[in-house]
Amino acid sequence: MRLLVVEDDKALRESLVEQLKQAGFNVDAAADGEEGLYCGREYAIDLAIIDLGLPKLPGLELIRKLRGESKSYPILILTARDRWQDKVEGLQAGADDYVAKPFHFEELMARVQALLRRSGGWAQPVLKCGPVALDPRTQEVTVNDKKVELTSFEYRILEYLIHRAGEVISKTELTERLYAQDFDRDSNTIEVFIGRLRRKLDPDDTIKPIETLRGRGYRFALQRDAAT
């Protein structure tokens, strides 16, 4: 999952980026509204965290511009004033939720997870597709209620695929979402990781969770559970 953090305060930005990276996200950071607009436009991001009090281009304007360009990823706003007027305006401009400064990282994380989940069309905190269940909060994956040990990168690929279960995800998209900007994008590594994931989730080759569509990409093939 690729996040964009737009925050002008260097210390807060860096500490946020650091913690989000530790939580397993691929994070882009921007220090002002214009840079944020550039990143929000150009990068394939899954969620943006935008501070309202930004230099050069105010957060509210940034959100309006992104939404005006049909960027539909969830946007979480950070507000210092904690005024209802700001929150209402931010949400009306197209943001999906807000967090008032100073926040606990856990609170921010919970909101981010919920927004990501919802953007993938999931209503429950645990993403379940038949025998496979993934809990983004604990980063635990189970198959038939048995825990599966995954490496951080394997987890991130699986999380992304399950989030968008049923959709075809191209290799390019996966690379974009999972690798940092300057990372060497060798599509073969993706194939290698998909192979490992298949073996770990489905050692007997019975449930076939990940489908390969030649020349188009991958799809998490298991049906989402009805109540989720």
Binding site: E7, S15, Q19, A80, R81, A100, P102
Partner: protein, 459 residues
């Protein structure tokens, strides 16, 4: 005592001036008229006297009398009560001739003492009417060479004179009266025209008070331009001051809370999370946040009368709030019914309304199980220019226990006694409502949860 209106003052002063002016004019004209008329009468008497002298003839007894022709020609001498009288008096005081008209009048002419002397004056008849009399003493040389002095007198009734005077006065008063009414009418019209811009100011100020206008219009006469421009500057300045002030507060909040956010993040980070002091420090960050939040919200509260502010469309503002909260609480699957009486307006600052309703509605969303209901109705009063508002927030949550109801709203409750993030919303709400002249009450809702009633009375 209420000062009189400008037009009443102006009309009263002008009326006094007009009465004074016309009074003097009438007096002067009357004087001149009487003077002229008296002179004319004297001239006429003079002519009568001279013609009487000229027509005089000696009689057998050594006296004088006017010729029969003259007396016949002047028929009024022969008619009693005709108003014209004549007499020739001998030096011994006996009349030499008296006109027939003198009979019964009891008139006694004043006789000048010296020869050539005259006497002109007013005499009173037996019946009380006045006459104007002219007497003259002269010497007459008879044909036989004897000289004797005689007093010639003529008099004329003042009745016609009075009639003329009365007629004149009547006409004069009539005309001046009409003139004065016309002038007063004209002045009243003029005053209305002159004061029209002032009435427009009054109208527009009422419109500003009721929020139909945000400032006075243009096109005022030069004399009022100073006032209207200054008033507009004041209104605009007030609005701008509030905006600037809030902007500053916003910057302050931003530059203060961001470091707090950094501290929180660092305290939650890898190096610090497990230190025993981290939790305490985090609590302190929470306290600082609470203090800043509370003070900033209080400071940002406008509580303004809304003068020069367009009234806030309550339905629209609350709908925006409802939409925002439904978005935030989307996972809770709550129903929020918003019922706003048409044309409900808030005569104050939009931010105050959003802050009050935002906090209360957010609370309802937080506690509700399924349903939230927000009902807004207008409070009207025949004596008030602006309607009030009654906003009722209801939810089906656990409600607020009776014992806590007064406590949660307590104004004086010390900040550091509060649990972080708790209650600040409500006490700010209470202060905001107070600043806007309203009251808040907590009750139980028919829905099962809390019922919070905000009453902003009409003003």
């Amino acid at each position: 005592m209420q000062p009189q209106s400008l037009s009443t003052r102006l009309l009263a002063s002008v009326s006094v001036l007009l009465i004074l002016f016309f009074g003097i004019t009438i007096f002067a004209l009357d004087y001149v008229f009487r003077d002229l008329t008296t002179k004319a009468m004297r001239d006429r008497l003079e002519v009568q006297l001279i013609s009487l002298i000229t027509a005089s003839e000696e009689d057998s007894s050594g006296g004088l009398r006017p010729s029969a022709q003259h007396v016949d020609a002047t028929a009024r001498f022969n008619t009693p009560g005709s108003g014209l009288y004549g007499e020739i008096l001998r030096s011994d005081g006996y009349p030499s001739w008296r006109s027939i008209s003198l009979t019964g009048t009891g008139l006694v002419f004043e006789a000048p003492a010296v020869i050539g002397g005259r006497h002109f004056g007013q005499l009173t008849n037996a019946d009380g009417s006045n006459v104007l009399a002219l007497s003259r003493r002269l010497e007459w040389q008879f044909d036989n060479g004897v000289t004797r002095s005689f007093v010639y007198s003529v008099a004329e009734d003042l009745g016609p004179y009075y009639a003329q005077l009365n007629n004149f006065r009547g006409q004069m008063f009539g005309w001046f009266g009409v003139l004065m009414l016309l002038l007063l009418g004209a002045i009243a019209v003029l005053v209305r025209r002159l004061l029209a811009p002032l009435r427009r100011v009054e109208r527009e100020i009422t419109a500003i008070e009721t929020g139909e206008m945000t400032e006075l219009g243009g096109g005022y006469p030069r004399e009022l331009l100073g006032i209207t421009t200054n008033l507009n500057t004041l209104l605009r300045g007030e609005r701008e001051r509030l905006a600037r002030y809030r902007n500053t507060l916003g910057n302050l909040a931003h530059s203060f809370k961001t470091p707090l956010a950094v501290m929180r993040n660092l305290l939650g980070g890898d190096g610090a999370r497990d230190l025993p002091i981290a939790k305490q420090l985090d609590e302190q960050v929470g306290r600082m946040d609470d203090i800043v939040k509370y003070q900033l919200k209080r400071a940002a509260a406008s509580g303004s009368t809304g003068l020069g502010l367009a009234p806030v469309d309550v339905g629209q503002a609350l709908e925006a709030l409802r939409g925002a909260l439904l978005k935030v609480y989307i996972e809770r699957n709550l129903t929020c019914t918003l019922q706003v009486e048409p044309n409900a307006l808030f005569f104050g600052d939009r931010e105050d309304l959003t802050e009050i309703a935002g906090n209360l509605l957010d609370n309802a969303f937080k506690w509700a199980r399924r349903e939230i209901r927000l009902t807004v109705s207008r409070l009207t009063s025949p004596t008030a220019r602006r309607d009030g508002l009654l906003m009722v927030f209801e939810d089906d949550g656990p409600g607020i226990p009776l014992a806590q109801r007064t406590h949660v709203l307590e104004r004086g409750a010390r900040l550091d006694e509060r649990v972080s993030g708790q209650g600040i919303g409500l006490s700010v709400v209470r202060e905001l409502i107070g600043l806007n002249g309203g009251t808040i009450a907590i009750d139980s809702s028919a829905l099962g949860g809390a019922r919070i009633e905000v009453r902003l009375p009409p003003t």
